[in-house]
């Protein structure tokens, strides 16, 4: 049997080339594995962004939308928006509003997270359940509840203040000025934002080793010093992450602001997302709204550039 002279298994064992092929395979497999994710990101995020940029350079009203005409207007939509004094006023207002909410969210959440660490198990669970419930309530449901609480005639807040002796609040309108309206909206957003940030920070605090606190105690550190020496390093990277997440979320809040007073009175509680809706979608000027959306994207990129920089530079996702 001459054919039997060649053992079938031997080439696989002896030849070095399959091993090389395996190595190429090993090298490409990870790329193949992330390919679906990459493709879906490109299709779901990249393509719409390109479309947005394209639309922002076009005049796209209902007429063009229906007839399918392509009317290129260059940077007209941008010039109109950027020369509108209202746009700048609203941008500044949105930035101040976002900053205030983010700072408030972080402070309140940090306080609650630290509090949770020191509470007994029963109280802690009650607090946690309460937070989860506040978090789980649908946005519009919460907004409606807030609207009723702050109602001029029937609101529980004015009635309570009246009972407490502040009779000036009978029939007080919380929505008669922009500042007051934005404060109510701010409280509403804060109420919905705090639970997530609290739980995230609490998880970070749990990561700080108990022994470190004991060591700090033995060294005679007071609670304030123990916080800075032990807790803070443990939650710092998480703090960075939730700060930037909150900036992203709070900057583009629409539903709550719109539902409370449609950006009124006199447009004084109008933020950029409301401006986008009014300028673009409400009047079917999709080109203009795409330009505003692009500008908002630029503002957000500027705001979060530092975070992206940290993400890119540091390894292992360590953001401290």
């Amino acid at each position: 049997m001459p054919a039997g002279a060649t053992p079938p298994a031997s080439p696989r064992v002896s030849s070095p080339s399959p091993r090389k092929r395996l190595r190429i395979g090993e090298r490409t497999v990870p790329y193949l594995l992330i390919l679906p994710a990459l493709v879906s990101i490109l299709v779901l995020l990249g393509w719409p962004t390109l479309q947005l940029l394209g639309i922002s350079l076009r005049k796209l009203d209902l007429r063009e939308l229906v007839s399918g005409q392509m009317v290129w207007v260059g940077f007209d939509n941008y010039t109109t928006t950027l020369t509108d004094p209202q746009f700048w006023e609203i941008t500044v207002r949105t930035l101040v509003f976002t900053t205030a909410i983010v700072v408030a969210t972080l402070l309140v959440s940090l306080f609650l997270a630290l509090l949770m660490r020191h509470l007994g198990p029963v109280i802690r669970i009650i607090l946690q359940v309460t937070l989860v419930l506040a978090w789980a309530t649908p946005v519009i449901a919460t907004t409606t509840v807030f609207q009723w609480m702050f109602d001029q005639q029937y609101g529980i807040l004015n009635k309570t203040l009246d009972r407490l002796g502040f009779h000036g609040f009978i029939g007080y309108s919380w929505f008669s000025s922009g500042t007051s309206t934005l404060t109510v909206i701010g409280l509403l957003i804060l109420w919905q934002a705090v639970p997530f940030v609290t739980f995230t920070l609490y998880a970070g605090l749990l990561g700080a080793p108990k022994e470190h606190y004991e060591a700090a105690g033995i060294d005679g550190a007071n609670p304030w010093q123990a916080f800075w020496a032990v807790s803070w390093p443990a939650i710092r990277p998480i703090m960075t992450m939730v700060t930037f997440l909150s900036v992203l979320w709070d900057f583009k809040v629409f539903a709550q602001v719109w539902a409370i007073r449609q950006g009124g009175p006199d447009g004084e509680s109008t933020t950029l997302p409301i401006y986008l809706y009014l300028k673009g979608v409400a009047g079917s000027h999709f080109g203009t709204s795409a330009a505003v959306a692009t500008l908002m994207l630029l503002v957000l990129i500027l705001l979060t550039a530092r975070y992206v920089q940290l993400l890119v530079r540091t390894k292992e996702g360590d953001l401290s």
Binding site: D61, V66, Y154, W258, L278, A282, G283
Partner: protein, 432 residues
Amino acid sequence: MKPWLKLAAGAAAITLATAGCAGSGGTDPGAAASSAPKGDGTLTVWLMTGSAPTTLTDALNKEFEDAHQGVKVKYEIQQWNGIQQKLTTALSGGDAPDVIEVGNTQTPFFASSSVLSDLSGSVNDLNGAQWLAGLKASGEFEGKTYGVPFYAANREVIYRKDMFEQAGITTPPASRAEWLDAITKLKAKFGSDPDFQALYLPGQYWYSLLSFIWDEGGDIAKADGKSFKATLDSPGAKAGLEFYKQLVEASGTKAPKDNDEANPQQAGIYGGGKAAMFIGTPGEVATAAKTDPSITAKTGAFAIPSKTAGQSAPVFLGGSNLVIPLNSKDQALAKDYLKLLSGAKYQSQLAKAGYVPGTSTDVSGLDADPLSKVMAAASKNGRAVPTSPRWGDVESGQNPLKDMLTAYLTGKKTLDQATSDANAALDKLIGG
């Protein structure tokens, strides 16, 4: 108000815009306008919720199907919330619905966007001589007709007959002076109840304000050729606003000054039994009856009184038009459908349902119901908001009239300040 719905619809519209620029470049609007039926034998009709009753539409659709062999009517009811965005999406699609009901204040926007079929040649087939004037204007743009009046309703003062009787008011007020006098009498009789309000009048009820402004000979904007100029700072508008404040103060209404008639639903408040009057449409009494079924029998109505004794004030005519989208594939069938609906048979059924019919001057069907009878009489003095293509921005966005009312009623701004600010804001929206 469901803002997320609007948002979702808006997002859908943008998505569609995206799709539109990718694929529909070859659509020729002229081709769709030719009259031969090309569709799949289905006529899609969109009417709004709370519009023509099902008894009417069932009969209408059956008669239409019987007359057109092989054609099926696909009848769909739409919600008012977010309708402008939904229509935008529908109209820009390749196969748009064939007949659509559009609110009269939204019609100029669509008529001016070249998305509707020109019906100028069919006006006579559609009973054109009897069209309701207040609606007719909203369906016209640059001399062409795009909308056929469907129905209208207007506001009146709805009151508790039993309370009026107890307060010694024998005849319903027929002038502003008598109206204020009735408020005084009601307060004298029931004022000891801290929850009682002689008139429920929310601060941002701008449809009522329109009546008072028109009654003073003013208007909110003046047409100047194709463009509009806001006239909220005119003496007539100021006088109307002043009367609104006088009414709010005299009546001691507990309604919020910073919200409108829908938040909270004013009919619900009236149904609570502590309000003697409110300004509303006859249809709202049915809503009140959900709270207290016995209230219908105790309810009467009188026209919004004018400052001139014996007359009624002009009223805002709210209503709908019917249009045929340019992208409809069954233009000829759609016109046949409109012809059937605009005929006397179905118009009289609309009147019986409590609406002022759009294409028939015969309102006898309304006389059977005392509330509708008062409405029909007042509708002869019905008027519309400026027919600016951009009027939709006022209602779907930040309405300067609402801001003006709240600022003036709460004393945050003087009469001159409030009217001139609102005038500038309205000019920015519809002016030029």
